[in-house]
Each structure stands twice: as structure tokens, then as C-alpha cells.
């Protein structure tokens, strides 16, 4: 090995680390260090005038597991994920198939589907508040035209979480549609022609040819939707604040509340660690998938 190549390798190593270091510092300061600090602080009790902070081991975790609210919130969040992920994927796919086919007013349709994506969640929540308010809201006004009784969408445990879910789906479906749209445009037109010649029905064509080809996109969207089911909680601040009686409270909102409304950072930290653990599992699955995908490339 020549001295030149050796020098080049050292140069590359130095440059590599130099170029990387600004981002590495920021990532350390705002992602890695906080993760570890969260883990650490979840092992201590909260200090007050009467009881200073002390090491309590896993007590904050056992407290959480004994807290019915925590379980309710976890259940809510699973339900939230369980509904928003498949439904928004399904709607996004339908939107994309429509927006990609030769229908009238296609420009309008595409714009309408995508518009919620550019609105802040807070603004979206304000829009929907006007829909949901009992008696005054649009839904009730329309319902009363058909003689339906007034429904307190945000004020009943059975409907509050659904009301939240609908806003989330409304917000994210159009965004996911775009990815499907892009994938659909990469499907060669002759596949469709061949199917037409064979006399394949449209449904069979979609199910047998289009859906399998869209599979990677679907996985990508599913992961995004999963992350959103943790992250998208802004509308709770406007619509329900997690109520009534915690029926629509989601985990990130509960973390926020624990830390900034109840000033109980240690329990918030313990919850954060649990969320990170779950996200970590999702990440691992995603990596396996990504790995496979890069092999094919």
C-alpha cells in the first residue's frame, strides 16, 4: 500500500469527522444525551419542600403500572393507532387511485385531498371544533335537518376519541396519498393494457397487480402513520384536553401534562422511556425491512 493511499485515507477520515461533527454535536445535545438523561432521571423521586429528591430505582415505573390512568392512556393510544393507521392508509389509497384515474375535476379533487396537509394541526382543530360543538356545530345542524338528536361528540367517552381520530385521519390521509400517487405513476402502462386485453376485471387488476406493486410504499406509509400516532396530539389541546374523564387522552399528551402541568418530571421521564422502547422496536423492524430493500437495489 502506497504512502499516498495511506495519506488519502487519513485525510478522508479527518475530513469525514470534521464534516460530521457539527451535526454530531447537535444530535448528541438534543437526542442522545437527553435520551440517557431521561433514563437517569426516571430513577429518582421528585423533590418537594418536605421530601428532597432521592434514588428510587424502578419505583416510578411501578407507580405507572399501578396507575389506572396510565393503562387507560396506553389503551387509548393503541386504539388510536389501531384505527388511524389502517383507515388513513385505506383512504389514502382510494384517493390516489381516484386522483390517478381519468375522472372529471381531477385538479380540484387532488387539491382538496391534499389541502389539510398544509394546515397546522391547531388550526385544523379549530375548524373541527366548529363541526363538533353540540347544538351549534355543523354536524348537529345537519343532523337536525334529518331530525336526529343533538350529539355531544367531544363530551362523551364513547365518541371523544373517535372525534380525535377523525381529525387525525383527515389531516394525514392526503399526505399519504401523495406517496401512493408517486408509486402509481411508476407502474408501467402496458401492465394495464395487458390486463385489459386479457379481460381482467378492474378489481382483479387492482388486487393482483397494483396492490403488490404498492407494497413497499404501504410499508413506508405505515411506519409514518405509526410515528404520527405517537406524535399527532396537538388537536387534543383544543378539542378535548384528553377528556372527558381521560377518555381521549394520548400518551404524549399525558407526558406533557405530567411534566408541565403536574410538575412531576420523573414520572414523565419514565413514560418517555417506555415510549422510546416501543418506538425502538418499531425502528428495529423498519431497519430489517430497509436492509432487505437496499439489497435489492
Amino acid at each position: 500500500m502506497s504512502a499516498h493511499a495511506n495519506l488519502e485515507r487519513r485525510r478522508q477520515a479527518i475530513y469525514g469527522w470534521l464534516l460530521l461533527s457539527p451535526a454530531a454535536v447537535l444530535l448528541t445535545v438534543f437526542a442522545f444525551y437527553p435520551s440517557i438523561a431521561t433514563m437517569w432521571s426516571s430513577l429518582f423521586s421528585r423533590g418537594t419542600r418536605r421530601k428532597p429528591t432521592e434514588f428510587v430505582g424502578t419505583e416510578n415505573y411501578t407507580d405507572l403500572f399501578a396507575d389506572p390512568t396510565f393503562w387507560l392512556v396506553a389503551k387509548n393510544n393503541l386504539f388510536y393507532a389501531g384505527v388511524t393507521i389502517p383507515v388513513s392508509i385505506f383512504i389514502a389509497l382510494s384517493m390516489a387511485l381516484w386522483a390517478n384515474s381519468k375522472i372529471s375535476a381531477r385538479g380540484f379533487v387532488r387539491t382538496a385531498y391534499f389541502t389539510p396537509t398544509v394546515l397546522p394541526m391547531i388550526a385544523a382543530a379549530n375548524l373541527w371544533l366548529f363541526f363538533y360543538t353540540p347544538g351549534l356545530g355543523v354536524l348537529d345542524q345537519i343532523g337536525s335537518l334529518f331530525g336526529l338528536p343533538s350529539v355531544n361528540w367531544l363530551g362523551q367517552p364513547e365518541t371523544a376519541l373517535w372525534a380525535i381520530i377523525i381529525v387525525t385521519i383527515w389531516k394525514e390521509a392526503g399526505f399519504f396519498m401523495i406517496f401512493y400517487l408517486a408509486a402509481l405513476q411508476t407502474i408501467p402502462a402496458d401492465l394495464k393494457e395487458a390486463a385489459d386485453i386479457e379481460g381482467t376485471s378492474r378489481w382483479t387488476y387492482t388486487r393482483r397487480i397494483v396492490l403488490p406493486l404498492l407494497m413497499p410504499t404501504t410499508l413506508f406509509i405505515a411506519v409514518n402513520a405509526m410515528i404520527n400516532s405517537v406524535k399527532l396530539i396537538d388537536h387534543l389541546f383544543i378539542l378535548t384536553k384528553g377528556g372527558p374523564s381521560d377518555a381521549s387522552k394520548l400518551i404524549l399528551y399525558y407526558i406533557w401534562e405530567m411534566a408541565f402541568a403536574f410538575f412531576d418530571a420523573p414520572h414523565a421521564a419514565a413514560m418517555t422511556i417506555l415510549v422510546i422502547a416501543v418506538l425502538g422496536i418499531v425502528a428495529a423492524v423498519q431497519f430489517l425491512y430497509l436492509d432487505r430493500r437496499t439489497h435489492y437495489q
Binding site: 418537594t48 419542600r49 418536605r50 421530601k51 360543538t133 353540540p134 347544538g135 351549534l136 337536525s144 343533538s150 355531544n152 367531544l154 363530551g155 362523551q156 367517552p157 384536553k241 377528556g243 372527558p244 374523564s245 381521560d246 377518555a247 408541565f260 402541568a261 403536574f262 410538575f263 412531576d264
Partner: protein, 422 residues
């Protein structure tokens, strides 16, 4: 436009080279306060502050409005925790226990030492001082204070054949009149059960003859028989008597519902009075709450607090500001602008408020109710204990649990939270 904090250290100061700090020959105060009603009310506070600054050129005040009470507490405490300046704040009168426990505020006895100061401390309505007086000292000064009052639609009373000048005085009358007023899309009564359900509940419980907490903030009585009975009564208003919608009633949109004639009566803070007055296109009245065993309402609203981490000059300046803002003329102006009470008897002696109440008597109702008022629900760990009670109320009203079950759970969690404070 504040890219960097003025007090920024480390990274911030490294990057802030060249940004000159303002010369500070004067005392700067930062005050966080909640906005009572949407719209231009911040202008009212801004103009009071401007008047104060004009009268005291050596003090500059940075008044920051920060949403509702919960938001304001979060904002003020986040500021303190991250070393941002904050000398005083208007926060929930019931936050006192927690603020003391976290060693964030000081009692006014430490700063209000002159005779004039002491006289000032004694000038407020005693009922409004109750929430701020803990362990023999005064921690909060009343500013935007309220009681719950009953707003009613006189036109609907007339239409239902009721006397518009005789609103219900007892629970039984309330149900009876409520039934007469419930017609078509209109309910007889709405008591809000989001936002501050515990507040409404406390009013009902007092009227039923039972307090929900002890005076020292360490015991709650949620599972007491008459407290459970109170919740059963609230639920019966919709379940049995059908005069209130089922499920919860939204605090935030209730005023709108009342103004749109969706309900003939509503219970709400007197802080809403001016907004209702402006928005109503019908004849409305305001009454003291009805009673069962006794009459009563908790007080509510916000007090001034003085933070501990302040210099002597700042404390003196903050005290000056509080005195200015609670002076009779300002209290009167604030009361007229919002509907909140004038906090001292002297406020009602001012020309402005005298004229206003003569022309608009409902502005006196909240104050008249003070003789039956009690301190608002407040304990140590108050946010979480309150949350438990709120949840119990909501799950009973929505039918998820029975009142007895729900309150027993709330009591158990309150006992757990308050264990360490006994």
C-alpha cells in the same frame, strides 16, 4: 422578534456577540397573566400597565398574557425554572399550596411592612383572601376574582309563564322552572362540566351542606354521603328531570349556547358578565345560585403572587404595581370591562362603579353573593387531586361509572397523593 434571550448564557452569549444589552437604570418587572375573555381585553391590561409606567417612570413592566389559568401557571413556572425573569404573576387563587410547596413564592407579610401596606392588605373582601391565607400568612392578593352566578333568559321566562324577576332560589324551584323552560331545542339549565367541573360541583356540594376539602389542604371528603348525593343530583338534572343535556356540557362554548337560546339558564363565572351583556340580543338576568341546605358558591379566579427569587427593589416595585392594579379606581375599571368583582368595598364606592351598577344591577350579584361564599377547592398536589375529582364528575355525568364509584376512586387517589403531606 427575540432570537436570543437577553439573559442567555453559554452558546447564546457566544452567538450574541454584538447585541447590546439595554441600559437598565430602571427596575424591570415581568408579569404573567391569564386572559379572561377573548378579544381586546389585553388592551385593558396594557392600558392599566401604561398608566402605571407613566406614574412610575423608574419601573418598566413587561406584561405577558398567557392563555387560561393552567397555561399561565405553566408559563410562569417554566420561566422561573429556566432562569427567565418573572417577578409576579396573576395565577389561579388555588395554586397557592403548590407554589408554597415548591418554594416559589413569598408571603406578603415579608414585603408589606409599613402601616399603609398593612392597611392595604386589610382592604380586601375577606372571602377573597381566604384562598391566599395559608399557615397564618398571606400569599395571594385578589385581582380578577369571581363567584359562580346563574344567568337566565328573561324572555324565555316570560314565554314559559314564569316571573322574569323571580329566578329559582332553591334546587326544587330550579327543577320545576327548568322543566317549564325545557322546550324543543332549548334546555332549562346548563351547568358546565368541562374546564372547571370541580368548581361547579363544589358550589352544589356547599349548597347541599358539605365542604369537599379541609381548610389545611390535606384532606378531601369526596366519598362523604352528602357529596355523593350532590353528584347524583347533578346527574339527575339530565337523567331524571331532563332539563340539562346528557353527557358533559362544554365550558368554552356555553356562553355561545346561552346567547343562542339553547338554554334558558346557565351557571358560569361572573367574569363572563360583560361578554354576555355585549352579546345578548334578549333580556337577561343574573341571580345568585339557588340553595338546598344553604346558599353558596366558591370564589374563583386569579390572585397576584410574588416570586421568591427577586431582589428587594423588584419586590418593592412589584408591590407598587399590585397596589396600583388593585386600587379602587382600577378595580372598578377592571370590573366594568370584564364582570369580575371589584376586589375591595372601596371599589364599589367609586363614581364609575356606582354609576355602572345603578344602570346595570347584575354587576352587583357576584359581590352580594360573597356573604355566602367559601374558599375555592384547593389542596396540596392540587392539580392532580383536582384532575381526579374532575374525572369522577365527568365519568358520573357520562354514565361511565356511578357517582359513588367514581367519587370513591377520586377519594382513594387523593388520599394517595396527599399521604406525604399529613
Amino acid at each position: 422578534m427575540k432570537l436570543l434571550s437577553k439573559t442567555g448564557l453559554g452558546l447564546a452569549s457566544a452567538m450574541a456577540v454584538g447585541l447590546a444589552l439595554p441600559a437598565s437604570a430602571e427596575t424591570e418587572l415581568t408579569m404573567y397573566y391569564p386572559i379572561a375573555v377573548g378579544g381586546a381585553l389585553t388592551e385593558v391590561v396594557d392600558s392599566i400597565v401604561a398608566d402605571f409606567e407613566a406614574a412610575n417612570p423608574d419601573i418598566s413592566v413587561n406584561a405577558i398574557y398567557s392563555g387560561n389559568y393552567d397555561d399561565t401557571r405553566v408559563r410562569a413556572l417554566s420561566a422561573l425554572e429556566s432562569g427567565e425573569p418573572a417577578q409576579l404573576a396573576v395565577m389561579f387563587s388555588i395554586d397557592a399550596y403548590d407554589l408554597i410547596e415548591q418554594e416559589l413564592i413569598i408571603p406578603f407579610e415579608e414585603v408589606a411592612t409599613s402601616d399603609a401596606d398593612k392597611e392595604w392588605l386589610g382592604s380586601f373582601y375577606p372571602a377573597l383572601m381566604a384562598n391566599g391565607q395559608i399557615e397564618g400568612q398571606t400569599w395571594g392578593i385578589p385581582f380578577q376574582r369571581s363567584t359562580i352566578v346563574a344567568y337566565y333568559n328573561k324572555d324565555m321566562f316570560r314565554a314559559a309563564g314564569l316571573d322574569p324577576e323571580a329566578p329559582p332560589k332553591t334546587w326544587d324551584e330550579m327543577i320545576e322552572m327548568g322543566k317549564a323552560l325545557t322546550q324543543g331545542d332549548t334546555y332549562g339549565l346548563m351547568i358546565p362540566s368541562t374546564g372547571y367541573p370541580y368548581w361547579m360541583f363544589q358550589a352544589l356540594a356547599i349548597q347541599n351542606g358539605k365542604e369537599v376539602m379541609s381548610d389545611d389542604g390535606v384532606t378531601t371528603y369526596f366519598d362523604d354521603a352528602s357529596v355523593i348525593e350532590t353528584l347524583e343530583f347533578w346527574k339527575s338534572l339530565s337523567e331524571e328531570h331532563g332539563i340539562m343535556p346528557t353527557g358533559t356540557v362544554e365550558w368554552g362554548t356555553l356562553r355561545q349556547a346561552f346567547l343562542e337560546g339553547q338554554t334558558a339558564m346557565m351557571w358560569h363565572s361572573t367574569g363572563n358578565l360583560t361578554a354576555v351583556k355585549k352579546g345578548a340580543n334578549f333580556d337577561f338576568g343574573v341571580a345568585e345560585l339557588p340553595g338546598k341546605v344553604r346558599l353558596g358558591s366558591p370564589t374563583g379566579g386569579g390572585n397576584f403572587y410574588l416570586f421568591k427569587d427577586t431582589s428587594d427593589e423588584e419586590r418593592a416595585a412589584a408591590l407598587k404595581l399590585m397596589k396600583f392594579m388593585t386600587a379602587p379606581e382600577q378595580a372598578a375599571a377592571w370590573s366594568i370591562a370584564t364582570g369580575y368583582m371589584g376586589v375591595s368595598p372601596a371599589a364599589y364606592e367609586t363614581e364609575a362603579l356606582k354609576n355602572y351598577t345603578a344602570e346595570f344591577p347584575p354587576a352587583l350579584v357576584a359581590r352580594n353573593q360573597l356573604e355566602n361564599a367559601v374558599a375555592e377547592f384547593s389542596t396540596f398536589e392540587t392539580a392532580r387531586v383536582r384532575d381526579g375529582l374532575n374525572n369522577a364528575i365527568q365519568s358520573a355525568l357520562t354514565g361511565a361509572k356511578t357517582p359513588a364509584e367514581a367519587l370513591a376512586e377520586a377519594q382513594a387517589s387523593a388520599v394517595r397523593l396527599l399521604r406525604d403531606y399529613k
